[in-house]
């Protein structure tokens, strides 16, 4: 004990000295010239004497540039998606047959918990932050985020958060948390049989707390940025749809996440210091459910609204028309944001709360279907009679709409108390929310990555591989999650490593589980293709010399981030691209869809850059 203390003290001492030494080496912090107002107030491409950032690893460790931080978020999110995906592949393999053949049920529970938390907090919020960090300042014409350093802090809280959340798996002597992502008390308070009293759960809670702090800092930053940093010609009236959804999402985060943080601290106190917030003889376990879902339901919209904004952004670009009913899409976003705080008890219909309370929560939950449907109809109408170009980002957007219809309608069913009493805690619920978290958030993440790939990399991805990725993901998603809806109807409860009920000779439960596993493998194969495509095209894809690879000028939709991209290309014209034998730029531009003339719908964000840089000097697509 005493030895450990000494060792720890030494370790911390060494760490502090090392940090100080490092800082004094790279920072001359006695000579700062004070820059009032947080610094960074100079114009983007001015010939300012100081360079933008150092090179190498130090650049990435010290950057406060919103684009770099966006890239960091994106890399982080793809890594966590891979890890969360591997976890679930083990679980789906285990579920191929009814018995516990591959892993023990405790391991299954640990994987289940980590999968959920990883995907929601370590993948979902960060991948959205990746897009918003990179593009919101560009889209609204800001130099950077309002608080660039806080932006960097928010990102750097995430890696320690992930390590703590996964600590139970790799720190010897610890058990991973098996509380499920909802962390219901009394189980998560470590009482009762006490299987959840270990430090693995505490570390997981701390990690979750950190990711919450990170999300809150990011949200404050986005609110400040969108309110105060807009360019002169970017008014509330012509603010684009993606910024609106990020603004709404940030508002939801601001009200929801601090509550989660407090609830987690209360739970930690219950676990470690003998308070009784969630004890039966104290505040009661149901208090946890109220606090958790008051955060938890807004959280699902935190993960849904920005991807919905991406649909509204990308869909018109490949439909050749502006977004139908722009105002109503904004209103529905705001309406969902407000209503989402009034529905949390629909997760608690079976807990025995007062039936009158249940009734009112059912009413509000059903009401939220209205703004959701408004969005769907607006999207469909946008495509109606448009010149649809089925590029990879467009395919993912259209697929998302169909997924959202299924996910949304199953949600409406669940919001009806009598239906929920039957389906609660079955695979039906799992199917419902995966149609949204995978079918909307996952799909739109891919759509965004493809749509902006030329901006990230200056190159084009391989369109054939992208289409393989889409179709594998789409078919896999339907197989996996529709099978789950059916499993729910058959009464298969969620969160079990084993199942043991035959219904007649054909064993439909086993069969459906196998279908779900098959679908999961298709999704995984698609993702491997995606990563390969991404990495390879990044280094070897054809360099794009046209500032408008999607032919957005034709339909007056050449938005600010592309104009910025165009300007950047012109200021850094370096070594020209490679082969330009074919010079057939339209093949990029459409990624396989047909090229059409503008139908001149007059987009809201029309602001065409002056010159058309139409040199046919473009490289060929890479399929070969």
């Amino acid at each position: 004990m005493a030895n450990e203390q000494i060792a720890l003290t030494l370790l911390m001492g060494v760490l502090l000295v090392a940090v100080t030494a490092f800082l004094t080496r790279i920072e001359d912090w006695r000579s700062y010239t004070p820059l009032a107002g947080g610094g960074g107030g100079t114009a983007e491409e001015s010939g300012y004497a100081r360079e933008e950032k150092p090179g190498g690893l130090i650049r990435w460790l010290t950057t406060v540039d919103h684009k770099d931080i966006g890239m960091l978020y994106g890399t982080y999110a793809l890594a966590t998606f891979t890890i969360g995906g591997l976890m679930v592949m083990i679980m789906r393999t285990e579920l191929l047959d009814p018995a516990a053949t591959l892993i023990e049920s405790t391991t299954y529970n640990g994987l289940l918990t980590s999968h959920g938390i990883t995907m929601l907090f370590l993948f979902g919020t960060p991948i959205i932050a990746a897009f918003s960090n990179y593009f919101i300042p560009l889209i609204i014409g800001a130099d950077d985020m309002a608080f660039p350093r806080i932006n960097a802090i928010a990102f750097w809280l995430l890696p320690p958060g992930a390590l703590l959340i996964w600590a139970g798996f790799f720190v010897p002597g610890l058990m991973p948390a098996q509380t499920a992502w909802t962390m219901y008390t009394p189980l998560s308070a470590g009482v009762g049989a006490g299987t959840q009293s270990g430090a693995g759960v505490d570390l997981m809670l701390l990690g979750l707390h950190l990711t919450g702090v990170s999300a809150t800092m990011g949200a404050i930053n986005f609110i400040a940025t969108i309110f105060t940093e807009r360019a002169e010609d970017c008014t509330w009236a012509n603010l684009d749809i993606f910024s609106w959804t990020i603004l709404t999402q940030s508002g939801l985060i601001l009200f929801a996440f601090p509550l989660l943080g407090s609830a987690i601290v209360m739970l930690l106190l219950d676990r470690n210091l003998g308070t009784t917030f969630f004890a039966v003889e104290g505040g009661s376990p149901i208090l946890w459910q109220h606090l958790f879902w008051f955060f938890g339901h807004p959280e699902v919209y935190i993960l849904f609204l920005p991807p919905a904004g991406l649909i509204s952004l990308i869909l018109p670009k490949f439909s050749g028309r502006k977004l139908f009913g722009f105002k109503f899409v904004v209103y529905s976003t705001l309406a969902i944001g407000v209503l989402s705080f009034g529905v949390w008890a629909h997760h608690m219909f079976t807990t025995g709360i007062d039936p009158r309370i249940r009734g009112s929560f059912m009413a509000v939950s059903l009401a939220i279907a209205i703004p959701s449907a408004v969005k769907v109809f607006n999207w469909i109408t946008t495509m109606w009679n448009g010149k649809v170009r089925l590029t990879a980002p467009m395919l993912f957007s259209v697929g998302t709409i169909s997924n959202f219809i299924i996910g949304g309608i199953t949600g409406v069913f669940l919001a009806a108390i009598p239906v929920d009493l039957v389906l609660h805690d079955t695979y039906y619920v799992v199917g419902h929310f995966h149609y949204i978290v995978m079918g909307v958030l996952g799909f739109m993440s891919f759509a965004g990555l493809y749509y902006w790939f030329p901006i990230f990399t200056g190159r084009m991805y391989q369109r054939t591989l992208a289409k393989w990725h889409f179709w594998l993901t789409f078919v896999g998603t339907q197989l996996t999650f529709f099978a789950m809806l059916l499993l729910g109807y058959l009464g298969m409860p969620r969160r079990y490593a084993t199942y043991d009920f035959s219904i007649g000779p054909v064993e439909p439960v086993t069969a459906l589980h196998q279908v779900a596993t098959l679908g999961a493998f298709l999704i995984a194969i698609g993702f491997v293709i995606h990563v390969w495509n991404f990495v390879q095209s990044w280094s070897e894809g054809p360099i794009i010399e046209d500032g408008d690879p999607w032919n957005l000028r034709e339909t007056n939709q050449y938005t600010r981030e592309w104009q910025w991209h165009h300007r950047r290309m012109q200021t850094t014209i370096a070594d020209g691209g490679e082969g330009d034998e074919e010079g057939e730029e339209s093949r990029f531009a459409t990624d396989g869809g047909e090229v059409d003339d503008a139908d001149g719908d007059g987009a809201d964000d029309a602001n065409i850059d002056t010159d058309a840089d139409d040199s046919s000097a473009d490289t060929d697509t890479v399929e070969n």
Partner: protein
């Protein structure tokens, strides 16, 4: 400018502090939660130190020392309140409680961090003028 400018002097879009703010907070949380005195003290120091540094770097304060000492004072008060809430006010009771009462251990570790921060802040203030 100085003949050897620091990182964030030289590069407009770089800062060394965010990484360490983000490292200090988890260490402090782990240390305080599990009652690991060295980790708590070190983590808190890293955290308040980096806050003082980043605040100065962004120009909200001119020198970091007063802020560092001030944050140390906040820690001191918080830790003392936590520890003293558990025991009657006497040194003997304190040492006895250190062995038995986890809250007192945590409170005292916060107090130590506060002391050190005040110390460094104070020393920095007075030593600095000669070294610049």
């Amino acid at each position: 400018m100085d003949e050897q400018p620091g990182l964030s002097e030289q590069y407009r879009r770089a800062s060394a502090w965010p990484l360490f703010v983000a490292l200090g907070l988890p260490l402090a949380e782990i240390g305080v939660l599990f009652g690991l005195v060295p980790v708590a003290v070190g983590g808190l120091l890293l955290f308040v130190g980096s806050i003082a540094g980043i605040t100065q770097e962004s120009g909200y304060v001119e020198r970091p020392w007063n802020l560092l000492a001030g944050l140390g004072g906040v820690l001191l008060v918080l830790g003392a309140v936590l520890a003293l809430s558990q025991i009657p006010f006497s040194a003997g009771a304190l040492t006895a409680a250190l062995a038995s009462n986890g809250l007192v251990v945590r409170g005292v570790s916060i107090v130590i961090a506060g002391f050190v921060a005040i110390g460094v802040g104070g020393v920095g203030r007075f030593v600095e003028p000669q070294s610049v």
